[in-house]
């Protein structure tokens, strides 16, 4: 009984700090979703392009990011790049951890988004493009009016999963002392050694956040009529 009371006390004590961390987590995730979407869309069209100047960089980007751990990417960007700049120029160069976190998460998420967007575009029936082109529409017009509106409905659900993964993966930014949700939990544990109540609280706050995203996505899917896909 006294154990439960002490756990509850810890959970209450750590909560304000977890909330502050959650704000940072949501901030980093929101910016990363935004930039990751832009990057992903560009890379998707790059990889779909017939021209190697667009295609090859996109493939290298997507394969490199998807083939290496986010954790290593964070270390490489936050410690590796400033180290490289310092070595090359002799000037001390630092990156703000939150900015670094947003940059790395955007780049990382962009590579996964690119494959989702590309797959969505590819899975629109070939006959759709042919019909549009046979009417004299340009590639661009066909993409905008015919292919993308259909692809978006295919893209939204997997993209939602990607956003949720991104929110959870942002916990790795604790390693570069971004004071997000997990980091604040770790700090509290290092002072109190109350690991169980703290980390269960951290987990529950993540759960609340991911459920929030799920709700938003379900709403967007309903609005776009993803379920009543007609063929």
């Amino acid at each position: 009984m006294s154990l439960l009371v002490s756990y509850l006390e810890h959970a209450v004590a750590v909560f304000p700090s977890l909330l502050r961390g959650a704000v940072i987590t949501v901030e980093v995730t929101t910016f990363s979703i935004f930039f990751g979407l832009i990057l992903g869309t560009i890379a998707a069209f790059g990889k779909l392009s017939k021209r190697n100047v667009f295609k090859l960089p996109s493939i290298v980007y997507i394969d490199f990011i998807r083939g290496t751990p986010l954790f290593v990417q964070i270390l490489l960007f936050y410690y590796g790049i400033p180290g490289l700049v310092t070595a090359a120029t002799g000037e001390v160069f630092r990156i703000d951890p939150i900015i670094a976190g947003i940059v790395v998460c955007s780049i990382n998420s962009g590579a996964y988004n690119a494959e989702i967007v590309r797959a969505g575009i590819k899975s629109v029936d070939r006959g759709q493009m042919e019909a549009a082109r046979s009417l004299g529409m340009t590639d661009r017009q066909a993409m905008k009016d015919v292919i993308m509106p259909q692809a978006v409905k295919l893209i939204i659900p997997p993209l939602g999963n990607e956003f949720i993964a991104l929110l959870k993966d942002s916990s790795l930014l604790a390693i570069i002392s971004v004071h997000e949700l997990s980091k604040n939990g770790m700090l509290y544990v290092s002072k109190t050694f109350a690991a169980f109540p703290t980390y269960i609280s951290v987990a529950l706050v993540y759960l609340a956040l991911t459920m929030g995203i799920s709700r938003i996505l379900a709403y967007v899917e309903r609005r776009l009529g993803v379920s009543d896909r007609s063929e």
Partner: protein, 240 residues
């Protein structure tokens, strides 16, 4: 109107068209028959450059469309195409399906395009389906919308790629009737079809293709009832 000279098409090592030469005059209706894999669809798709010919020449109204410098979109504006699987845009109403290309490609105002689309839907007997999405239409209705969509560009030539093959039998007639009306109005048409009734009623000529070449050609009656070539006879005996 259309002049094809020694047209070849390869897909990798596979040679699908092995030298097709043919002329289609204005207002002529030409039906193309042949077994699957004979290259008849590929031939049709080469005419509006959905497939790029490997070799040979295609002239439409004297213009060499196989010239790489030619603006493919300009050619396609004049050559309408109807597909076996309709390929209607599922996220647009029947009306919008018909009106889209005239707005985007011909630069018609929304009102002009929708007026034209209404007229065309009426022509194919579907004026009451203007606001319906393709998923709620029967196959025959979808194909009639697809014909209206192609006509909305006011093409000079219409290509039909097995337009009734994906339809339930009871819907074939409604689509063929629309095509017959079109033929009677003087549209130049090339139709890949096995509908003998259609070919005899409105077809001026029939081409029989097999293994990438035109094996035999003639009037519908000549081909269907008095074929000279053994391959033609053997094919017809299977489908008639």
């Amino acid at each position: 109107m259309i002049e094809v000279n020694n047209l070849h098409k390869h897909f990798g090592k596979l040679e699908v068209l092995k030298g097709i030469s043919e002329k289609v005059d204005e207002r002529e209706v030409v039906c193309v028959i042949g077994p699957s894999g004979s290259g008849k669809s590929t031939f049709l798709r080469c005419l509006n450059l959905l497939e790029t010919p490997t070799a040979g020449e295609i002239r439409i109204e004297g213009e060499l469309v196989t010239d790489p410098r030619v603006d493919i979109n300009k050619i396609r504006e004049e050559v309408g195409m109807v597909f076996q699987r309709f390929n209607l845009f599922p996220h647009m109403t029947a009306l919008k399906n018909v009106a889209l290309a005239p707005m985007r490609v011909r630069g018609l105002s929304e009102k002009e395009a929708y007026d034209r689309a209404h007229d065309l839907l009426k022509k194919v007997g579907l004026e009451d389906k203007a606001d319906v999405y393709p998923s709620s239409l029967s196959g025959g209705q979808q194909q009639r919308v697809a014909i209206a969509r192609a006509l909305a560009m006011r093409p000079k030539i219409m290509l039909f790629d097995e337009p009734t093959s994906a339809l339930d039998p009871e819907m074939v007639g409604e689509v063929l009737n629309v095509m017959k009306d079109l033929a009677k109005e003087g549209m130049t048409m090339i139709v890949v079809t096995h509908e003998m009734g259609f070919a005899r009623e409105v077809g001026d000529r029939v081409l029989f293709m097999d293994e990438g070449v035109i094996v035999e050609k003639g009037t519908p009656d000549e081909i269907f009832f008095n074929a000279q070539n053994e391959r033609t006879k053997s094919f017809l005996s299977k489908i008639l």
